[in-house]
């Protein structure tokens, strides 16, 4: 019962966060907000890349080498083939091989 209440709380708060900006700027969107809407996406993607890599410890073994190598491969594959699926698959397999076999 309590679990249900907690899940409902998480659900409602998450939905509210996603809806609030749309409700606030319903009628007209100020220029500043449309500017943010234009420049934020690339900035946020950059933020998320760092966020995903936050658990690397550059001072301890394996020094983030698996992440670094795999990340470079993903970017390289995307640059070369422009196919997201291939890039993601290659990078993930390389990373898994690295942490399971090499280190």
């Amino acid at each position: 019962m309590k679990s249900a209440a907690l899940i409902a709380t998480m659900s409602i708060v998450t939905i509210m966060i996603r809806f609030i900006p749309f409700l606030v700027f319903r009628k007209s969107t100020p220029k500043y907000i449309s500017y943010l809407g234009k420049v934020l996406p690339p900035a946020i993607i950059g933020m998320l890349v760092i966020y995903c890599l936050k658990d690397i410890s550059p001072m301890e073994n394996p020094f983030g080498i698996p992440e670094f190598v795999a990340a470079v491969c993903v970017a390289g594959m995307q640059f070369w083939k422009r196919n997201s699926l291939i890039s993601i698959l290659t990078g993930t397999v390389i990373y898994m091989v690295f942490i399971q076999i090499v280190f």
Binding site: V13, P42, A43, V49, Y51, S84, G91
Partner: protein, 185 residues
């Protein structure tokens, strides 16, 4: 949880909250802290989702990290209705998410090969999105602002609490750069 909350990192934390028997207030605050970044997603999609009609409520509900990274570039394949495209990308993501949760809980314990490292696929998704937007845009300033501000905040605030400072700093820097950036267009 996957059906109603539909926010990956929140669900991990959610399991912890349920386990610990947290209060509703704690749960609400934790949710706000963790999902605050979704405010950003919504703000940047206001323009793009403007005329999506009756798809709009679901599109907003389903605006997760992954959906956002697929749709934020605003590129729609040619000859496709853009509202439908966005709707189905969102819906399929949601279905995969739920299916993945169910399959994961069923076979998670009996899988013969080690899945250690599979979580890198999410990192790879964002790196792919980053590279792709880098290749399709001329102005790399916002992307660099995002990378550098977040890196700086990670160093300053530590890995457990850098996300909100990073969002504030990114907004500040982009606001300061506004005139310069708008002149370019």
């Amino acid at each position: 949880m996957s059906l109603f909350i539909y926010a990956g990192s929140m669900q991990y934390v959610g399991v912890g909250l349920l386990d610990a028997g947290a209060s509703i207030l704690t749960t609400a605050i934790a949710t706000i802290m963790i999902n605050a970044r979704h405010l950003f997603y919504s703000i940047s999609m206001i323009g793009k989702y403007k005329d999506t009609g009756y798809y709009k409520p679901y599109l907003i509900f389903a605006l997760t990290d992954e959906t956002y990274s697929l749709l934020c570039d605003g590129i729609i394949p040619e000859g496709v209705n853009q509202d439908k495209y966005r709707f189905f990308v969102s819906l399929f993501n949601h279905c995969y998410w739920i299916a993945g949760s169910i399959i994961g809980s069923l076979i998670g314990t009996v899988l013969p090969i080690s899945t250690a490292g599979i979580e890198f696929s999410m990192t790879a998704l964002f790196i792919t999105a980053f590279t792709e937007q880098w290749l399709t845009t001329k102005d790399h300033v916002p992307a660099l602002v995002g990378l550098l501000c977040t890196l700086l905040c990670l160093v300053l605030f530590g890995r457990d609490s850098f996300l909100i400072p990073a969002m504030i700093l990114i907004t500040l820097v982009l606001t300061i750069l506004r005139r310069r950036e708008e002149d370019k267009v």
